[in-house]
């Protein structure tokens, strides 16, 4: 029973991170209709930049904020330089550009920060919290709190603010949004910045537990995407649910079968969902009409 509880805790911890990455996929997909293959690299940049800023002597909270802001800026610049020139056209070209861009971002991180793993201090020092016979690391509590807060703030922004409504309008129908005076192109840039910030937050929050390196992006990207697909691509609530479910599946597989299979779970989930229920657990019918 104790072991089971421990697996659940680990699953919800990783699941929260996948949820953040999945939200990033969802936001860019809503704005462009394309999958952003650089999403995992934003996760990597968050961790690496955080570790870098902290190593320059910046206090940890400041380093964290700086890392998120810098990654968001990189996301916006990435959109302006590579995605915008394509225009709202062919999603295949947007996907290709994000693939190439992901490689460039990863290589830049390699050239700047080197090939070694980098540590980051936990947000608060201290022993694990014990409850019901299970131990919860303090950083795990941080991850849960930050994810919950982010989801809450995002939901409020999307419902209550003019910016959020403009984002939603653009994702529903780009042309119509333009007709009522929304700068649809700026919304796409904003979606990349926001997705980058979410990825960075995930990378930053998990770095104290796992360390981080220039090459962690692709793996996390696949898992975040599997989570987004599991819930239903394009739906933020579903992305969070998908992330948590994927995290739980992974940690239970690793716990009860073999840790070697842990990384296979995401791909299995991805393929099974595509095969059985491509609209995701919470998605409606995704049929396209002529």
């Amino acid at each position: 029973m104790d072991a089971f509880l421990q697996f659940i805790i680990a699953g919800l911890k990783n699941g929260s991170i996948y949820a953040l990455v999945a939200l990033g996929f969802t936001i860019v997909y809503a704005a462009t209709g394309a999958i952003n293959f650089a999403q995992g690299e934003f996760f990597m940049l968050g961790g690496m930049l955080g570790a870098f800023f902290a190593s320059t002597g910046l206090p940890l909270p400041l380093a964290a904020v700086a890392a998120i802001a810098a990654t968001a800026a990189i996301g916006a610049v990435f959109e302006l330089l590579a995605v915008r020139p394509i225009g709202g056209g062919d999603p295949l070209r947007i996907i290709m550009v994000t693939i190439g861009g992901a490689v460039v971002l990863r290589q830049l991180a390699l050239h700047f920060f080197g090939p070694d793993e980098r540590p980051l201090a936990p947000f608060t020092e201290g022993l694990s919290i014990k409850a019901f016979g299970a131990a919860v690391e303090r950083q795990t509590v941080w991850i849960w709190a930050l994810t919950a807060m982010t989801v809450l703030v995002l939901a409020l922004v999307y419902r209550k603010t003019a910016f959020g409504r403009a984002m939603r309008a653009t994702s529903i129908r780009r042309d119509a949004a333009r007709l009522v005076g929304i700068d649809a192109r700026a919304m796409v840039t904003a979606s990349f910045a926001l997705a980058a910030a979410l990825g960075a937050l995930g990378g930053l929050a998990v770095a104290p537990l796992t360390q981080t390196a220039f090459n962690v992006g692709a793996g996390v990207g696949v898992k975040g995407f599997a989570a987004a697909i599991l819930g239903g691509l394009g739906n933020p609530v579903a992305a969070v649910a998908g992330g948590l479910i994927l995290g739980l599946l992974e940690s239970l597989t690793a716990g009860y079968l073999d840790p070697v299979y842990k990384d296979a779970v995401a791909l299995m989930v991805l393929l099974v969902v595509l095969f059985v229920r491509p609209q995701g657990l919470l998605g409606g019918s995704g049929r396209e009409k002529v």
């Binding site: 861009g101 490689v103 990863r106 290589q107 692709a218 393929l271």
Partner: protein, 327 residues
């Protein structure tokens, strides 16, 4: 204007002749090996040209199919002591089956789920090559793979290996050319334009995409078997995401709706990796710098081509010949 057209018609034959006589002009064994590697990459990229350039799908996992072929060939020839040709065919077949299993769920849908599924597949296979130690030899790799044999003839000379590889590339190119210029090719081009439109005209959209993917996986598997037999040693560090990106970059730079463009790009981008061997006078540091920025070049090349010249080399060449045609 007629000159340009005749040139365009003659180009494949001229290229073929040049490729065929290389071993007569180049005696350096290391150089020949580089040109052989170029042929192996060309085989993979020919499959990707069908998949990307004609069917409009992206794969980020083709190195995994190359690896699957390489390990199958190694295992069948060394452990099972199969004749080489049988092992070679088995390598292609296994990669094709793997491709089918991956493509069926991913390609039923619109959007580019295949790209993500192949990315996951590639990462997973890299892991599998390391973990399945009894079969693959783990991180230490798999050595002692014999040279190709055809019946009693063992192919071990650098020049013979070169000819074997390029002969298979030639067969693949002819087959691919037939596919693209006949009915399946028209179907593929149609769905690159508009999937719904193609569907409305009675094109089996999913079937065409799945077939293109399976053929590309098959060619990648065969290329892997050739690699294993030419080098004699395989290890998991070769069949990584980095290699998949390199193959994709070659296909993208080569261009859409073309086989000769990707072929040229595959050869050129392979040769860039060995610039120090090709140009003897080049300073060592320059070569090393170039090597450490190899992946940056692939990434940037993909971005630049897609943003600035989405048709790649092939469409630049087409525009050139058409331009001189109009004058």
């Amino acid at each position: 204007m007629r000159g340009a057209r005749t040139l365009g018609r003659l180009a494949p034959f001229v290229a073929l002749a040049i490729i065929a006589i290389v071993p007569l002009l180049v005696t350096d064994r290391f150089l020949l090996k580089i040109f052989t590697f170029a042929g192996i990459n060309a085989l993979v990229v020919t499959g990707l040209a069908l998949l990307f350039g004609y069917a409009g799908q992206v794969s980020l996992g083709h190195a995994a199919f190359v690896g699957l072929g390489a390990y199958t060939c190694a295992f069948c020839t060394v452990r099972l002591e199969w004749p080489w040709l049988l092992a070679f065919i088995a390598s292609g077949a296994l990669a094709a089956v793997g491709g089918l299993l991956l493509a069926l769920p991913s390609l039923r849908l619109k959007g580019h789920y295949l790209a993500m599924a192949t990315l996951g597949f590639g990462l997973l296979m890299t892991l599998a090559f390391v973990e399945a130690e009894p079969i693959t030899g783990g991180v230490d790799g798999f050595g002692g793979i014999p040279f190709p044999t055809l019946g009693p003839i063992e192919i071990r000379e650098a020049s013979s290996l070169y000819w074997l590889v390029w002969a298979i590339v030639g067969i693949a190119l002819v087959a691919a050319f037939n596919v693209t210029s006949l009915r399946p090719g028209r179907a593929m081009r149609a769905l690159h334009g508009s999937e719904l439109g193609a569907q409305a005209c009675g094109v089996d959209v999913v079937g065409v995409k799945v077939r293109a993917f399976v053929v590309s996986a098959l060619l990648a598997g065969l290329a892997g078997a050739l690699y294993a037999s030419v080098v004699g040693f395989v290890s998991p560090s070769i069949f990584t995401l980095t290699a998949s990106i390199a193959f994709l970059a070659m296909a993208v730079v080569g261009g859409t709706r073309s086989l000769s463009g990707p072929l040229a790009a595959a050869v050129l981008l392979t040769l860039v990796q060995y610039l120090d061997a090709l140009i003897p006078g080049i300073p060592r540091e320059t070569a090393q710098t170039l090597q450490s920025y190899q992946e940056d070049i692939y990434g940037l090349a993909i971005v630049l081509v897609v943003v600035l010249a989405p048709g790649g080399l092939a469409s630049m060449w087409r525009r050139q010949t058409r331009g001189s045609h109009a004058s």
